[in-house]
Symmetry: C2
Subunit: 201 residues, 2 copies
Amino acid sequence: VPKISDTDKQERIERILDGARRCFARYGYEGATVARLEEETGLSRGAIFNWFSSKEELFVELARRDNERLLALFAEQGFRALVRTLVEEDPDWLAVYLEFGRRLRSDEAFRTRWKERAAPDLRDRVRTRIEGEQAAGAIRDDLTEQEIGRFLGVVLDGLVVQRGMGFEPPDAEVVVRLVEDAIRGQGRARRGTRDGTRARA
Amino acid sequence: VPKISDTDKQERIERILDGARRCFARYGYEGATVARLEEETGLSRGAIFNWFSSKEELFVELARRDNERLLALFAEQGFRALVRTLVEEDPDWLAVYLEFGRRLRSDEAFRTRWKERAAPDLRDRVRTRIEGEQAAGAIRDDLTEQEIGRFLGVVLDGLVVQRGMGFEPPDAEVVVRLVEDAIRGQGRARRGTRDGTRARA
């Protein structure tokens, strides 16, 4: 095995993950055979599984990155940005999550790893954002930060499942307006304007 | 083949569906082999597939019944009753929907049949309920009936996917409060009380 620099190593890993994502989206998780992973990455199985111990590990790493990207987006820009990103996500890729869903349920060890796939500091930043908006009166404070966060999670998962199943989801702006009206604090205006700016009450 | 009365026929069909539901919940859609369907229903494959042309038709009939039951519940009792029912549904059964999700996406003919699985009159009753509540000021009328309905669908699908994946969903009452605050009309009180009764503004 030839030596490989850190840069080359990183490039190799990215290439494997890019190919694996395309492969999962195209053939589904079960349908993504080793031969097809080789084809989509342009690398041999030896080269692929030198960096990832299994197909499962490939998927989990992709899901971990998605999760981190979306949590960071929420922490930095809020729920609206998150919904907009989700409705632009490749439905073929989202469908892979559905396929994985039942597995997640039946394999508790895997579910535990799944829950831990987000960096703790990122989850702290999400929590801080919600609590900050509660303190500022932008988000209601008669519910806990956790209750608000879980509700947002339900709405997002609902969008993922509808898009992954191939149905036309409701308009992103409508979802955002409704969710904002649900979680808005007491210092709130009654209606948002079309472009999303909002007069403060 | 012995003759069979209409009552016996209906009993036979119910027995097949009951067994198939248990079988899907226990082994998943793919895992529900013909041998396992025979075991759970206590009937031979000949007897089962005399009434249903395929495993797919069994699942679609179960899903159709779920859908009708839930739409009827919404039309008669509203969103709160629907959420309460969903959070009591067997997660193993809900997980089967996830497994079916990707298939739904990749098979357009099947998706069309899926969309049509609810009786049109039932969908009309749901529409009538939402429009009636909009007219009465209980549900906001700055969004269309379809936009409201689709948003409720997203929330419900989000609950299904979280339960099907084995995660603890948010408290049902919290979800109901937040959704009610999202869709409430102008003639609305600001906050519900704990037991769900609500002063009118």
